[in-house]
């Protein structure tokens, strides 16, 4: 039988959805929302974002959403229905010019508008790098507080998706972590995404909101329908443990949750921490945890050299030096451009993280 026909048969025997799920490197388990946030509705990640922007535009008459293709709903359907509801002067498309989009957003924010800019893929945020790092991040500082663009929030889909290759899979948090004046946030789930996006929009500092695109449809939770925010710069302990602290953010958290389950089978008790905010990050929660457990594994999708795990590791070894039982381990992407077909090798998957856990425990 020809290869083509063989592959057709295999694929037609599987439903597309289950195939996609089997090819994902993580398992999403929904959180339960706090009971004091009111009634909830089943929403996936992107609907939670739409909901957050809906609330924002409703309560803030100066809020505007702009970016490439946001008017019809966006390439990931994150802004569906908003233009119809709020009008084309508040939800509008920009031409294809990232540097222009961010620069324009900074100007609108400085002049008093709550500007929510969308950059279509995080890989494309780089033409706007100068605007973000030199203009947005430093505006308050260089004007001695006279001007600032705190009303700017830049949303962008990031992260590996299985077939994105070099330019549809990057997570650029490390580049922006180096620019004080910005806030960088990366939520792991729909409940987090809605609360954190509202927090970023209302925060008086320019924010970069990174959305792991693989979670857009894969992550579904009971999300509170009301208006709520979640605190920025506060890491969250998702699972308590006593032997080793696992630190991550975004999609990687779901990998770590599974790693904790697997390690528990070997009698290793893992504490899982979601950093949530990359800049400014919550060193207190992390160091308290590592002082308790004495061991730490930090993981992210981005390449290891110059990655954010280095910053966390350096802080941990300084603050928790005498409590450490083993060197801090980092499990990250390779120091290569994000590969095309060799992606499964690049990803810091659960087996690699589990191996790192065993390394620190058996040190």
């Amino acid at each position: 039988m020809s290869l083509l026909r063989q592959s057709r048969n295999i694929l037609s025997n599987l439903k597309a959805k289950s195939l996609a799920k089997r090819l994902m490197h993580f398992k999403f388990e929904p959180d339960n929302p706090s009971t004091n946030l009111g009634p909830t509705e089943n929403m996936n990640y992107l609907k939670a974002l739409t909901n957050a922007m809906d609330i924002s535009l409703e309560n803030d008459p100066t809020a505007i959403i702009f970016g490439e293709d946001v008017a019809f709903g966006g390439v990931f359907r994150c802004t569906v229905g908003l233009r119809e509801k709020y009008g084309s002067d508040r939800v509008f498309n920009t031409p294809l010019c990232e540097q222009g989009i961010v620069g324009f957003g900074i100007g609108a924010a400085v002049a008093g508008s709550t500007a929510i800019a969308e950059i279509q893929f995080a890989d494309y945020i780089l033409p706007a790098f100068d605007q973000i790092v030199n203009e947005a991040a430093k505006y308050r500082y260089r004007s001695g507080g006279l001007f600032e663009c705190g009303k700017l929030t830049i949303r962008t889909p990031c992260g590996a998706v299985g077939h994105g290759a070099l330019y549809h899979s990057q997570t650029p948090e490390a580049y922006f972590a180096h620019s004080t004046g910005l806030k960088v946030v990366i939520p792991r789930s729909p409940i987090q995404a809605k609360g954190l996006l509202l927090a970023c929009i209302r925060d008086d500092n320019p924010c970069i909101f990174l959305e792991p695109k693989i979670l857009y449809r894969a992550a579904e939770e009971e999300v509170p329908v009301g208006d709520y925010t979640l605190p920025l710069s506060q890491a969250e302990v998702l699972r308590e443990g006593s032997d080793v602290t696992l630190i991550g953010y975004g999609t990687q958290i779901h990998v770590l949750k599974e790693v904790a389950e697997l390690a528990a089978k070997d009698g290793i008790s893992c504490e899982v921490i979601d950093l949530v905010t990359i800049l400014p990050w919550d060193a207190d929660t992390v160091c308290t945890s590592v002082s308790k457990t004495g061991r730490c594994v930090i993981t992210h999708e981005s390449p290891v050299t110059g990655g954010f795990a280095g910053e966390v590791a350096a802080t941990i070894q300084k603050e928790c030096f005498l409590n450490l039982e083993a060197p801090v381990e980092r499990v990250c992407g390779y120091d290569t451009p994000f590969p095309h077909v060799l992606e499964p090798f690049f990803m810091p998957d659960k087996w690699r993280c589990l191996q790192a856990v065993k390394n620190v425990v058996n040190y």
Binding site: S7, L11, D69, P95, L96, L126, Y167, R330, Y334, F345
Partner: protein
């Protein structure tokens, strides 16, 4: 030897065709309004365009079977652009384009099996399977670039190399109607004009930047005038002969005077990429209209038959041969395997001393393979 019905004209060696008038911007002369073509060239252009069309349709089929994954931007409908431009270039001229690059890769000499293998991510691919659809390269073809507009300053730089070496060659830097609004395009225009670089900037205007029509994206849709101080031409991009003539004119100008802008008004039948059905921002009727009335391959076919170069029978034979060729090349590409694991940490740097690349943790290192 072909058997012809009675009363049909004999084979001719040359024919003349009129082309639609070409709009000019800041030019004293303009390209000719009539072009001559000989039989061999005619058959060559037709065959090449048909191969590109078949190859793109094959890619569409294979994408739906999930043999090609990721992002795949197809060129069908725009074949006359690359075929026409290539017809007036020499192998020493350089071309750089954006991500809709399969047609360009082929016309610049990459065999179909290498293009398809690159789409599959296999070893036989022209970038060793490491680049994918958007990153195809060959000698004198600088790709294949993913970031919109980023290739145009590169084109200006390559043109500078031509000028530096005093060769009578040009660089063709292609971009689309969406990219025409990127800042770096205008930076390239300025540098090229300032230093009088032999660059032909080609705007392949297929009327839609992904899902945004040109009217909704650009304050001025006269892309051939957007170079301002750089002269421009607006050409019917569905007519391979018009494109060839305009390129001939542009190359002559670029080598003598400096940069020139060429807008090719063309159309893509597929959506922006394979994830885009291409019907939410344009009607199916519009696509059908263009396919019926303006298809570059069909209209050229009618021309060469009417010129007496070939008969309908000949054309059918060529079509069958092309189809078979693409099938053979597909089989070759499918037979190839994925790149070996050590390719993940190769082609990153050039280095004399052995280099270790950190892998997922800082202890496991991979040896960097130098490029061969």
């Amino acid at each position: 030897m072909f058997f012809q019905p009675l009363g049909i004209r004999t084979y001719s060696a040359e024919a003349t065709f009129p082309i639609k008038p070409i709009d000019t911007h800041k030019l004293e002369n303009s390209p000719a309004t009539e072009v001559q073509i000989n039989k061999d060239d005619a058959i060559s252009y037709y065959t090449k365009m048909q191969i590109i069309r078949r190859m793109e349709l094959k890619a569409d089929q294979l994408y739906k079977q999930k043999i090609i994954r990721g992002f795949c931007h197809l060129y069908d409908g725009q074949e006359a652009c690359c075929a026409g431009i290539e017809a007036s270039l020499t192998p020493k001229d350089d071309v750089i384009t954006a991500y809709r690059a399969h047609g360009w890769a082929f016309i610049r000499g990459v065999p179909v099996c290498n293009i398809l293998a690159e789409l599959f991510g296999r070893k036989l691919g022209c970038a060793k399977g490491k680049g994918g659809s958007m990153h195809m390269y060959s000698k004198n073809f600088y790709g294949g670039n993913g970031i919109v507009g980023a290739q145009v300053p590169l084109g200006a730089g390559i043109a500078f190399a031509h000028k530096y070496r005093n060769s009578d060659t040009v660089t063709v830097a292609c971009y689309g109607d969406g990219a025409a609004n990127q800042g770096q395009i205008f930076e390239s225009f300025n540098m090229s004009q300032l230093w009088k670089l032999p660059a032909i900037f080609v705007c392949e205007n297929n009327r839609y930047g992904m899902g945004t029509s040109v009217e909704r994206a650009s304050a001025s849709t006269d892309y051939f005038t957007r170079g301002d101080y750089i002269p421009g031409l607006r050409v019917d991009g569905m007519d391979v002969l018009a494109v060839r003539e305009a390129t001939r004119f542009a190359k002559e100008y670029a080598v003598k005077e400096g940069p020139i802008l060429m807008e090719l008004v063309t159309y893509r039948y597929h959506g922006h990429s394979m994830s885009d059905p291409g019907t939410s921002y344009r009607t199916r009727d519009e696509v059908k209209e263009i396919r019926k009335n303006l298809d570059p391959i069909m209209s050229f076919r009618d021309k060469i038959i009417s010129a007496g170069f070939v008969t309908k029978q000949d054309v059918a034979t060529i079509d069958a041969e092309v189809k078979q060729h693409v099938e053979n090349e597909t089989a070759k590409a499918l037979a190839s395997t994925e790149p070996d694991f050590d390719q993940i940490a190769s082609d990153i740097y050039v280095t004399d001393t052995p280099l270790s690349i950190r892998s997922c943790n800082i202890y496991n290192k991979l040896h960097h393979q130098p490029s061969v």
